[in-house]
Amino acid sequence: MTRIGVLALQGDVEEHIYALMKASKTSNLNVEVVEVKKPSQLDSIDGLVIPGGESTTIRYLASYIGLTPKLKAKIEEGIPTLATCAGLVILAKKARDAVLKEPEQSLLGVLNVEVLRNAFGRQKDSFETKLLVEGFGEVKAVFIRAPIVTEVWNPAKPISKLNHPKLGEVIVAVKQENIIGLAFHPELTTTAFHEWLINEAIK
């Protein structure tokens, strides 16, 4: 039995759980999904999802409950990890906000990228589109008050770029060994990335 943990403090946790259930059904693999809300729940998992939501809220809640050191250790040990939107911000080594400008403290600092929060603007600038992602082909993608990746360094690599009419070509997906970080929300449109996570977790 493979166990996937979803960080369940705030954000679209249920949508990720649903995507994982669907992915386990289509790939015919036996998966148990657990909500992670305290450190001990990280012990027995083989894969990890960090969902979308407000990164400032998730940061506060994770620090409060003492999840931060163990989460960081677990990801650095190599547990397959899928991070979407706020999840990407939480994993990034460096983060800034497009509105407030000043650098923010990073929570986990395990992914070699710099991200810009709210890069596209407000909710009225949120959008859906089709995107080519290396290793995943064309996927439908929803960007919600999304961040972008402004800098990537080894061993992280960009796996998808978006051509945006206002921002030009921007990096919206990266892979670094066991981690995939996405600026968009695959859990709302596709199960491709959750299938990847399950397959990696089984290995």
Binding site: Y60, L61, R122, K124, V142
Partner: protein
């Protein structure tokens, strides 16, 4: 296996049905108001049903706090709120001051948007289409068509399908919630009785809503029952069927109205809320910084009593807003009966 994601399809169908045919669209276009979800380019679509409901999904397990100034908005953000709701006066003060309550100053809203990184919402009067147009122009992330402000249309709510900005509406029972969804609301909240610091009405409304949902689910295969229910509520059969199948309100549903303590927030989460709006409860208390943090903790960790105990200890009952017993309000003082 069912998920609220399935409601996106039904909402998209309703959108085509209700909005695609409307003359209103053409009239607005003639006025030069581009209200169709359009693109920045051929491949990028803004303001679609998917984009609106997806934003709302990110608010799960969060707290949105009523604020009237930049200082309050920053306290809310530092406390871990997932959003702020900008008002001219907190609901408690709306009650006290009387008169007509309208949407907040646009300048204040803009100043708050420039000084916070979290989503900014604001309220419009029920039926006030043009206040909503203004808020969309200004760029708020979520519009609350709210009974706390003085309604301008006793019969109709705003047609929310024509906006790119998501809307939240209040409801006291399931039919009301489904009517608002059929008008294009992307999110529902209980009405409760705002500005009272008394969570009793929010509890009543959540129990009303969820007992009706359970009743529908029990009749999920009784086509006639669902048809009758749709007729009674004056909503599309699709929506009723969807609710029966999902066993929940088909959009994200927050609790609102009278939440004043961490325990109130945890109670509403226990009753099935997806998150919590706090109106006067925080900034009408004498310990807003701690209370804001404590309510955020209790909302996320509602299923962990140890944390809720710690959260409840962060605030003092002596500092809480005094509150108003709903039974002492005259019928004309009730906000929840506005806009059914």
């Amino acid at each position: 296996m069912s998920s609220i994601i399935q409601s996106h399809e039904v909402l998209e169908r309703l959108y085509d049905l209700l909005y695609g045919l409307l003359e209103l669209r053409d009239r607005l276009r003639q006025l030069g108001l581009e209200v169709l979800p359009g693109g920045l380019s051929d491949s990028i679509t803004l303001g679609s049903v998917k984009v609106k409901t997806s934003f709302i999904a990110m608010l799960r397990r969060g707290v949105i706090m009523d604020v009237t100034s930049v200082e309050q908005a920053q306290i809310a953000e530092d406390a871990g709120a997932v959003g702020v709701m900008v008002l001219d006066k907190l609901p408690y003060d709306v009650r006290r001051s009387g008169g007509v309550a309208r949407t907040a100053d646009l300048k204040v809203i803009e100043e708050i948007m420039r000084n916070t990184s979290i989503p900014v919402s604001a309220k419009v009067r029920i039926g006030h289409f043009y206040e909503a147009v203004l808020l969309e122009e200004v760029g708020v992330d979520l519009i609350d068509e709210s009974e706390v402000l003085t309604p301008v249309d006793e019969k109709h709510h705003i047609n929310k399908w024509v906006f790119k900005t998501p809307f939240v509406n209040g409801a006291r029972e399931l039919c009301e919630a489904l009517r608002r969804i059929s008008e294009g609301a992307s999110m529902i909240r209980s009405k409760g009785e705002a500005g009272t610091g008394n969570v009793a009405e929010a509890v009543r409304h959540f129990k009303e809503i969820y007992s009706a949902v359970r009743d529908l689910t029990a009749h999920a295969h009784d086509e006639e029952y669902l048809r009758d229910y749709a007729r009674k509520c004056q909503v599309q059969h699709d929506l009723v069927l969807l609710t029966a199948k999902l066993g929940r309100v088909p959009v994200i549903t927050y609790a609102a109205g009278g939440i004043a303590t961490p325990a109130d927030a945890a109670l509403m989460m226990w009753l099935g809320a997806d998150g919590v709006f706090v109106g006067s409860g925080i900034f009408k208390s004498k310990d807003p910084e701690n209370r804001a943090k404590a309510i955020v903790l209790a909302t996320s960790f509602w299923d962990n009593p140890e944390v809720v105990v710690e959260a409840q200890k962060m605030v003092s009952e002596k500092e809480a807003m005094l509150g108003i017993d709903v039974k002492t309000l005259k019928p004309e003082e009730l906000l929840q009966v506005r806009g059914l």
